[in-house]
Amino acid sequence: MLHLYRRICVLRATGEAFAASRLESDELPRAVAEATAAGIPEDSWPLRFAAEEKRVADAELLAELLVPLLAERLPWPRSPATAGLSAVLDAFPAKSAARPEPGAPPPTVADLIEGMLAQERGEHRQRATRRAS
């Protein structure tokens, strides 16, 4: 149940808002009904959900801070073996998509899109943090 809600939060955090909405509207109500039938008080869910949102938001923030540091210190080649990690690095470019240094080469389209997605993730994180606090 909480795993399902965590999954929804993760989908939102990674820009999959539509998939998140689908899970939220299709599967979550069913899971809540089952859990309530199993004896978990219905009024305890908002607090549990808020806690999950905060966990995901915190984890996302940690990744944003940690991944660039790892990328700097571990200059691994992007081989098939590290493709998964490369995908994570691509998803969290930290400040690379922010204002470029003067004289820097023009950004690629993908960098610019990454900047947009980073902004969206940040706004979502702020909303989630506000809801959780």
Partner: protein, 382 residues
């Protein structure tokens, strides 16, 4: 928290991959079609092409309307006895259809019509219905998450993957002459420009400086082409009560004669009122309405100029670009430039995006589709 990213396919967009059917009952081929889609309130522009190339296979401007054929229409009146018509065809059969504009004020107002319209766009870019469609859709600069979610919902089962990107930025990307980037003297609009996109419902002003514009870099002013039409209509109603001029006709007058700056009297326009032809002098009606636009957007323009750093602002002032339908009003560039110069801004240069203004957002969207990384696309689940 990283699992969702890892679950996404890792193949690059330019490698065709067998994809599972995203619509029930269909089996997709390996073909991928990239789409740049400027979804406008009045008109939409769609461009498509294959990944890994600069070819444009389809370039089309479609009025954003869906016509649902009325009951009881005699067989043969509507070509193929179609029940739903789109764009120009719907407009041509105005008497026989219930015309629905899917969007109002830049956002989806009629989801069912929007979905039908998306389906029509899909049929234009992929008549076979078998390809995987990845669409970059332009959205107004001020579109919030609910408006974006409406677009995703309507595109579900029509497109396979989607990216929603604000229109002013796409306009800058579309206007960029890629062949001249890096050449001396060429000011790359993506690196340093101020874009003024005057649409139907909003005028979007956007500072583009080599990174994706933040919310603070974009100002959306709720005054644009439709508001000018309304001002003209109101004044015409006062001067010529019961004139019977439709909004469509008033817009046509504006698009033909619109200007800003000093009065261009005499400006005689022939109109039909009550079935009779009249020639009326409209210079003041048109001038007052159009000049209001400059007054409305000027504070936003100066706000964003002042937000630019001192290192970049001089070059920025040389690269103020006006696009959208409003850019076609005569004298807009010279009036705005003079006003900036009179206010002491350092040798400003305002230029019009040109006759291709209707396509820049879609061109930028197709460029974005071609440049997007695999993990940046949003999957639309069926």
């Amino acid at each position: 928290m990283i699992s969702a990213t890892l679950e996404k396919p890792a193949a690059p967009a330019n490698v065709s991959t067998p994809t599972s059917a995203s619509r029930p009952g269909t089996v997709k081929s390996a073909k991928t079609v990239l789409v740049g889609f400027d979804l406008g309130t009045n008109k939409s522009c769609v461009l498509s092409g294959p990944p890994g190339s600069t070819d444009i296979v389809l370039s089309k401007i479609v009025p954003s309307v869906v016509g649902y054929v009325r009951d009881g229409i005699v067989d043969g009146i509507i070509a193929g006895n179609a029940t739903v018509l789109y764009g120009e065809e719907a407009m041509r059969n105005l008497l026989h259809v219930r015309l629905v504009a899917p969007l109002e004020n830049g956002i989806i107002a009629h989801p069912e019509a929007a979905r039908d319209f998306f389906q029509h766009i899909r049929s234009l870019v992929d008549p076979s219905g078998q390809a995987e469609i990845r669409a970059v859709v332009g959205v107004p600069a001020n579109a919030g998450e609910p408006a974006r979610e409406d677009i995703r919902r309507c595109a579900q089962g029509v497109f396979d993957r989607i990216l929603l990107i604000p229109e002013p930025f796409l306009a800058a990307l579309g206007y960029r002459d890629d062949s001249r980037v890096g050449q001396p003297g060429y000011i790359d609009p993506v690196v340093n420009s101020l874009f003024i996109d005057i649409g139907g419902c909003t005028s979007d002003i956007c500072l583009v400086q080599g990174y994706f514009p933040t919310r603070e870099d974009q100002i959306s002013v709720a005054f644009a082409g439709d508001a000018i039409d309304q001002l003209m209509s109101d004044e015409l109603d006062r001067t010529y009560p019961n004139n019977g001029l439709s909004h469509h006709k008033v817009r046509e007058i504006k698009e033909t004669h619109g200007y800003v700056g000093p009065s261009r009297r005499p400006l005689d326009v022939k109109v039909i009122m009550g079935g009779k032809g009249h020639t009326i002098e409209l210079s003041d009606v048109i001038g007052r309405a159009c000049n209001t636009l400059v007054d409305k957007i000027y504070p936003a323009v100066t706000t964003l100029i002042e937000r630019a750093s001192s290192d970049s602002v001089v070059t920025l002032l040389q690269n103020i670009i006006v696009t959208g339908g409003g850019s076609q009003m005569k004298g807009f560039d010279t009036v705005l430039q003079k006003r900036l110069a009179d206010d002491g801004y350092e040798t400003p240069k305002v230029q019009l995006a040109g006759q291709d203004y209707k396509r820049y957002v879609a061109v930028g969207a197709l460029k974005a589709a071609r440049g997007a990384r695999e993990n940046q696309w949003q999957h639309l689940l069926a």
